[in-house]
Symmetry: C2
Subunit: 447 residues, 2 copies
């Protein structure tokens, strides 16, 4: 039962072929078995999760479904405020912090019927210092970060969907490393209200699922204007899950420059082969030629992130500098020393790339790149390299990673698809079609 997708679970709950309580018990049993090794959970209150499941099942029995996610258990990255539930942001400074309100993302999922199962491990302040979470495909390899627990938990069948966030590559990179689907929509599409800020002009809420359709189901619940997040967009929402059903063959622009050059040989060859499979299955594939210098862009991204981190974490850092890990501390100290002219020039570079990338993406249903340079590194001192995800976070464009196969060492590989601003429907449709052409991975450990 723990292997059900969100779509399967809510359908089974709705038709009463599965009770929410059974489903939750199955997932909790899975957690009990796997979490000591995988360290997915930062906070899991089994009794509270079961109580919520009982309440949801009682509603089912009264014929009252709260919404399209009724009964779906969701993992929540521990930077999303949850009313009455500890929210640590992965930092000792907040180890005893219990918010008095839900973040908008959690509130919207709950309103749609989802059950907030527990809080998943995040790297410290969603930055680059590794967390204790392990990759379910091989515990000697990093699960990636910063949404480490959310990605690993979806891969390990501890929950069918989870919330994450991306400032550089914190959704799509762990999604790819763990062999699941990771969606980061357009900047402003999902409210960040109640989410611990890293860098306000970059931070984007996203989600992890095991299918593209499930990503659409989560986005349907999450997307939309929220007055409480100043960056929230009034752009109308679509019916995203519908876009993932019965997709037509997409027009794909393969981005070779930078991405194929930086990827390791295995990833480059694998992605080439995946593109060939997509083309043979009927996709229209052509080459997309960006004009920008991606290294300059990554430098601009880093400046913006470090400076804004220095602002958002400034008071915490001033009060308790010794409670910061080396990577996040370095980022803040770098940001504190940066001149404003560098930040302005970085933002201008970003703005120019945003226009260029949006124009390029609009010529296709999706741009395609490998999701990551390598499979999940055998290195627990790192969360991996965000160079392939950061350009799209910087540009604010919607992006999705989906599994495309396994490496020789049995680790997941993925492709990243990127679409024009607010073209999430086109993105999900293209991704769903590619998912059908590329097939699903077996669960970890069952390859």
């Amino acid at each position: 039962m723990y292997d059900l997708t969100i779509a399967e679970a809510v359908d089974a709950v709705r038709t009463r072929s599965v009770s929410v309580v059974e489903l939750m018990e199955s997932l909790l049993a899975r957690s009990r078995t796997l979490d000591p090794a995988l360290r997915v959970w930062e906070t899991l209150d089994e009794d509270a999760a079961l109580d919520a499941a009982r309440s949801a099942q009682a509603d089912v029995e009264r014929g009252r479904l709260r919404g399209p996610l009724h009964g779906a258990p969701i993992g929540v990255k521990d930077i999303f405020n949850t009313q009455g539930v500890r929210t640590t942001s992965g930092s000792p400074i907040y180890e005893d912090f219990t918010p008095g309100f839900d973040s908008t993302a959690v509130a919207r999922l709950t309103a749609a019927g989802a059950i907030m199962m527990g809080k998943t491990v995040t790297t410290e302040f969603a930055s680059f210092d590794p967390s204790p979470t392990r990759n379910p495909w091989n515990p000697r390899h990093t699960p990636g970060g910063s949404s480490s627990g959310s990605a690993a938990g979806v891969a390990a069948r501890m929950f069918p969907g989870a919330l994450g966030s991306q400032t550089s590559g914190s959704v799509l990179r762990p999604a790819s490393y763990n062999g699941v689907v990771g969606l980061k929509p357009t900047f402003g599409r999902i409210s960040r209200y109640g989410v611990t800020p890293v860098a306000w002009s970059l931070d984007t809420v996203g989600c992890f699922t095991r299918t593209v359709e499930d990503a659409g189901i989560m986005l349907d619940a999450l997307a939309g204007m929220d007055e409480l997040d100043p960056a929230s967009s009034a752009e109308p929402v679509s019916r995203y899950a519908d876009a993932a059903v019965n997709p037509a063959p997409p027009r794909i622009g393969a981005l070779r420059r930078f991405f194929f050059e930086r990827a390791d040989d295995e990833v480059a060859a694998h992605t080439d082969e995946a593109i060939g499979r997509l083309a043979r299955a009927g996709a229209s594939v052509s080459e997309a030629e960006p004009e920008c210098d991606f290294d300059t862009l990554l430098a601009a991204h880093r400046i913006v992130m470090n400076v804004e981190s220095a602002v958002s974490r400034g008071p915490d850092f001033a009060a308790r500098p010794d409670d910061f890990s080396p990577n996040v501390r370095g980022s803040i100290e770098w940001g504190m020393m940066a001149p404003a002219t560098a930040y302005v020039q970085a933002q201008r570079r970003r703005a120019a790339f945003r226009r260029e990338a949006a124009d390029l993406a609009a010529r296709f249903d999706a741009l395609l790149t490998p999701s990551t340079l390598t499979p999940a590194p055998r290195d627990l001192t790192t969360t991996g390299d965000a160079s392939f995800q950061a350009p799209w976070t910087t540009a604010g464009l919607p992006a999705i990673s989906l599994p495309s196969g396994l490496s020789a060492s049995g680790l997941p590989l993925g492709i990243q698809l990127v679409a024009a601003p607010f073209a999430e429907s086109r993105l999900l449709s293209a991704a769903s079609w590619c998912e059908g052409a590329l097939g699903h991975l077996p669960p970890p450990g069952e390859g």
Copy 2:
């Protein structure tokens, strides 16, 4: 004939009661008389202006009116690029610079039939160092800046309308000091393409006229999306001149805090009296209570302006530091030393004020303040104080200054009206109604 407004001039040209050539000759004669003392022109090519007038008149005689500004002579601040006409930006570095293309603002006015008469004096790089221009009401007093020549020239009847730009208070302050109408629309409403940048997130194109209707006529030609300016807004335009005709009594929110406290006693008493006149004439006047700290906001404005000036002028300053005047040099050096965290915090303060001010403005047709702290100072070492204009530039809200009377010393005083983002039609309607209630000033020297 030099006393005609734009509306009167284009009507007289259209009905052939005045020829464009006669009109231009009258204005050029006026320039010859007054410019040696007033120093309005940076570049005036009388032959070219007359040639353009002859060509426009020939079109009239062929029954071909180019647009609603056909035959209207316009002064252009010398930071707007003009094809084949020297554009100095008030700096010795650009004293021989002749652009190969028109700025979008100039191109749009010309396409509507206006005649680019010549280039008006700007302070150096549109900053705070005084220009040689004098105030036509009293040459011992500053005309304000940075659009010094445009404001003084409209007041002195050397042309009926002119282009200016505002980064702090460079349209509305000189408009008030010179007793004319100055309009700064919403940030993004008029393209800045081809305008020498000062601070990209603040710079706003505006215009000077002698009536509110004329400001609407100019805005009709200038407003609208331009792909060449990344900050240009796709917000639909209105029929702005129409909004200034037959206006209804407006709902006015008088902003006393900060503005009445900082204004000198005469300006405060005068503005009180003007508000009384408006209320007696039928306006609905109530008190508007902003929550923000305007001093913090002005500090944020200054940080943003200095940092962005340091970026936009960086290459010029690196190459020729000794060719900068003290105020603009100080601004650049300040900006070069500012930390990025200060800039980010300043931008966040701005964004919060933008939301607050937009909400406050949306509750009225216009907010009302005195335009300036004092009448034009008797001090040619300054261009005056921008504290009353800068908050609205910072917020990106549309604002207009119109004359409200004369000081005891015979200098113009003005009121500033401010509206919600992109509510230029409401602003112009309110301003037109107030103009009717407050009356026009006599020309300078004829009071």
